[in-house]
Amino acid sequence: MATLRTHNITFGRMIRLSVLCLIALIFFSPYIFLISTAGKAQADIFTSSLSIIPQHWYFVENFTKAFDRVNMPQLLWNGVLVCGMILILQVIVAVPCAYAMAKLKFRAAQTMMMMVMLGLLIPIHATALPLYVAFNNLSLLNSYTALVAPFSISVFGIFLFLQFFRALPDDLIHAARLDGMSEMDIVTRVIVPNAWPAITAFSIFSVVAHWNDLFWPLIVISKQGFATPPLGLLFFRAAEAGDDYGALMAATLIITLPLVLAFLLAQKRFVEGITMTGLKG
């Protein structure tokens, strides 16, 4: 008997695979040039011929330069520190709030819902001016505080956790109350351990956003010591002012890689998390 469909190659699947591969190639092509350029000598980069394989193998030199010219470890550390602090604060603030909104009956829950909806609409770009003025007046510019504080609240996080918690069975919380847990116990012992898919999904959103954010660091940071990766890269780009692209691409690779690796590791949970949080709708 002929086994139909299942996992063998059909004509339709061939087409689908080809289309998928083609689009993937297009999407990936900037990275091909990124990697190739990171391996080229300065004089080989701007040539009129299209060569992907570097003529001279210059990876080591370029990476060395990337590390030499900017304080790459400092930059990466700043990125990790800032994203880490932001993420931790966001989760610590958003989880209890979302729990209360989802599972406790009290009037403020509705007010909060309005605030959250409003907050979702107001991007940092809109509030940057007064925030800048305020940080300026408090002499807090050029500090981790300035980088972290405005993002310590993530209404998107509250929204996402809210969706997730609503789907958690009430019985679980009832059982916990009967077992003698206080509401704080419930948050730390029941909610958080079970919110990992949502926290993972949120972490990716949060880290991607803040690791890549240029707008805010550009405004509040003028000292290199506090530069986040994009700011550092911007500086690096300016520093090499359109010439040492090899080193620039090497630096770009160094800074892009951690996030890509993180996504690779977490992607399955990420999709799961989004599914479970009902973010999809």
Binding site: P169, D171, L172, H174, A175, A176, R177, L178, D179, G180, M181, S182, D185, R189, V190, P193, N194
Partner: protein, 386 residues
């Protein structure tokens, strides 16, 4: 000794009265099954007893103490949920330990890492471990203690949930359809286990189910709740043989009891269609309901003292056959339960004779309340008067 008593509990949701004054007393070690159709307020009542929800009116007294205003956590009530509500991130052992840890360890001792450094913490934890181990042995789940709920079958989860509820010797035990997630075979088996366990623990238990056979087979007393009222609270036998209300009669018994509309005159003659039953019921003229359980309906050939009926459907159930037959006189469907042997000669569409033994007949008034029949004019079968 009365350990749990509910006095006139009322509750409405958004103006809808769900509980209309429910009162109930459970004696020490008693197992009370609370049955009723879906949405009648069983879970609501249970949640109110647990302290997870609060009544609009009425009092809850547990062990002599009015706990109406007391927190769920402080009532020392244990509950098993339909969904089991095990903590998915904890192993079975850790799940069972939770209520003990919450009660025996101080807040400081419970802290994640710091807690380990607190004085006395070690000893208490060991105590809890032992206790959990004992409980697990009793429920034969020793081998599961290291598994998480996701790695257990429904029956195993249910046992862990039971263990978690029992481990701390609660004042009252509440169970909300704990077996409804199990498959049929396991369910029958688990019934026995719960009854055993209850007997050993001796804690008064309120057991919600909508499965009548569970209620009848497990409980010391069955409380039938319908439409927010507790219609009857009695032993299974009493409630089955002597239902106080037509809804109770209807709710219990599979297949359902036959209820026929009838008219009763002052003289005590009950008529339905052209058939008459002479009974003596004090002050009860008017519309009545005549009810008889399927297993008491006699099925035979058409004779003069049997009611003729046409067979519409036969349901073979292995050890018995259910006959659905429509009475020729009043076009009402009557259900009879007979043995397969008896049913051998019966075909769909054929006419049979039904007899309704009058001593097995219940009469209910128009409001559904049971009418006590003081005497029936003649023993034996319901007479067909043509």
């Amino acid at each position: 000794m009365t350990v749990l008593s509910l006095n006139g509990i009322t509750k409405s949701f958004g103006g809808n009265p769900i509980l209309k004054g429910v009162s109930l007393e459970a004696k020490d070690g008693e197992f009370i099954a609370l049955v009723g159709p879906s949405g009648c307020g069983k879970s609501t009542l249970l949640r109110i007893v647990a302290g997870l929800d609060h009544a609009d009116g009425g009092d809850i007294i547990i062990g002599g103490r009015n706990v109406s205003t007391i927190n769920a956590a402080d009532r020392n009530v244990a509950m098993v949920f339909q969904s089991y509500a095990l903590y998915p991130h904890l192993t079975a052992g850790q799940n069972i330990a939770v209520p003990l840890a919450m009660r025996r360890l101080s807040a400081a001792q419970r802290l994640p890492i710091l807690g380990n450094l607190m004085p006395g913490q070690k000893a208490i934890r060991t105590g809890i471990q032992n206790h959990v181990q004992d409980m697990a042995s009793a429920l034969k789940i020793d081998h599961l203690l290291d598994r998480k709920p996701g790695q257990m079958s429904g029956g195993q989860r249910q046992r862990v949930a039971l263990a978690r509820a029992m481990v701390r010797q609660p004042n009252v035990f509440l169970m909300d359809e704990p077996l409804s997630n199990l498959d049929a075979n396991l369910r029958v088996h688990a019934r026995g286990e719960i009854v055993d366990l209850h007997r050993r623990a001796g804690v008064p238990t309120l057991y919600v189910t909508h499965d009548q056979s569970e209620a009848l087979s497990m409980a010391d007393r069955v409380a039938v709740m319908i439409g927010g009222n507790l219609l009857q609270l009695a032993t299974p036998q009493e409630i089955y043989d002597n239902p106080a209300h037509v809804e109770v009669a209807r709710f219990l018994g599979q297949p359902r009891i036959n209820v026929l509309d009838a008219q009763m005159d002052k003289a005590g003659l009950v008529r339905f269609g052209a058939t008459t039953l002479a009974a003596r019921v004090p002050n009860a003229a008017g519309k009545v309901m005549l009810a008889i359980r399927p297993e008491f309906v006699g099925v035979g050939v058409e004779t003069s003292d049997a009611l003729p009926a046409r067979v519409e459907r036969l349901e073979f159930l292995g050890s018995e056959v259910v006959v659905y037959a429509r009475l020729a006189a009043i076009a009402e469907l009557v259900v009879a339960k007979i043995s397969p042997q008896q049913s051998a000669s019966i075909r769909i569409g054929s006419t049979i004779g039904l007899t309704l033994p009058s001593e097995k007949i219940f009469l209910f008034g128009e409001d559904g309340a049971r009418l006590k029949i003081e005497a029936v004019s003649h023993a034996g079968k319901l007479e067909a008067v043509r």
